[in-house]
Subunit: 247 residues, 2 copies
Amino acid sequence: MQSKNKHEVNPRISADCVIFGFDFNQLRVLLIERSAVENVPSMMALPGDLIYEEENIDTAASRVLKELTGLEEIYLEQVGAFGDPDRLNKKNDQLWLKAVRQDPDARVITIAYYSLVNLDNYSPQASSFAKSATWMLVDDIQELAFDHAEIVKAALKKLKDKIITQPIGFNLLPEKFTLSQLHRLYESILGRDLDKRNFRRKMLKLKLVESLDEKQEGVPHKPSQYFKFNEENYNKLIENGYDNFGF
Amino acid sequence: MQSKNKHEVNPRISADCVIFGFDFNQLRVLLIERSAVENVPSMMALPGDLIYEEENIDTAASRVLKELTGLEEIYLEQVGAFGDPDRLNKKNDQLWLKAVRQDPDARVITIAYYSLVNLDNYSPQASSFAKSATWMLVDDIQELAFDHAEIVKAALKKLKDKIITQPIGFNLLPEKFTLSQLHRLYESILGRDLDKRNFRRKMLKLKLVESLDEKQEGVPHKPSQYFKFNEENYNKLIENGYDNFGF
DNA sequence: CCAAAAGTGTTGAAGTTACACCCATGC
DNA sequence: GCATGGGTGTAACTTCAACACTTTTGG
């Protein structure tokens, strides 16, 4: 491997991003529609691409996400490496790679990242080989390109583990929100019902949220109190290292 | 990337193994002494090496571990990918790579794996470029080759997360053991004291261990009861998905 | 009989679960 | 006035944390 130019592509390593978006109703994933090439119809895929030779993988993930969907400043956490030698071998994937990649037969290992964001704050704009970029309902996902369905599944597992194990990150919350919205968020991710009263009690006791002097307006029911995230208490909780192992 | 021969080396991807070993007293990590080359003294490192072109990464990790230390049949779990472009750039590491690798300047991303085993069941035998293979106390680890110190740290964090989050795997327990030994295991991994009575109570309630009709012999104190692991109950617990998020 | 580690119970505090009705608003 | 989702309290139960002394063995 002679020279390592900054923008020379590393043909063996890619980064893929699983961006979960929540609209306070259902959980979605940001998918791109991979451009069609001759005889290969377009197909849904995770935003992801080869990294550069001199590029940090984390940085690459952010860059690729931006290039394909326009989203930036999203905190990404690693899911892991996916390296089955057959992961690119489905027929349509092969044809697509041949049309698009310089080195279509290379064995590519991908490093997957994930995040959870408030969908309202981000409007994806497709570019590069992405024909479109949309927030798909997690429950509606059918076949995806490559091994991306498997990657989404692994990322969702990480997200669940994270949410039951530590307080949710404020980065995905809008400036103000209601406890019902937060409640729905938790229920969507965990995929089960949580008792409303107990949920509210717990959230308030942890002091991660505090109420604002503001209520919903124009809703055809009792207006709900708005809350904001308390970053200070969140950081304290994280730093002190919560610890579920009780002795 | 023309042909992909089964044993052609992939110069960009390696697998490293962090094998934690417990002797019922202290926590150790399996390290190899990387062979010395001209002007570069030998150095401690994780067992790890480049993968083959057609090889699954998980398989590669097992293979590499076996080649360097003789250990096999160890269940490995992924820690993640480490891909800082500078991770191989320390001077001694560079010199060593130049002496040993076909493609010493390649930018290599490594996928790290970890496991926890009962140290008594495994006697490492160094081979290949490993001059020796030894169980080092985690607390005694000084400088390691490449970014291996960072990898060990990340693996230890995963191990801690795992142990507080789910019942410990029986794969690391000897056939029979005492609750005090198990107690020390937990204390070593978590790095803090756990109340003896509360620990015993909890372990027994979970029914992951059951007592045998056998006691220690020849010890200069009250002999302790031996226990065995209950695999059936363990599997039940895992399958049902323990769940720490209380509502 | 001494040293060493094994083993054992209780209590108060905190957290968890389960459950049903009234409230404020727009239309 | 009705439909909609917001908001609230309590009791039974389980889990957790803290704490000190007796037991059994070898030497």
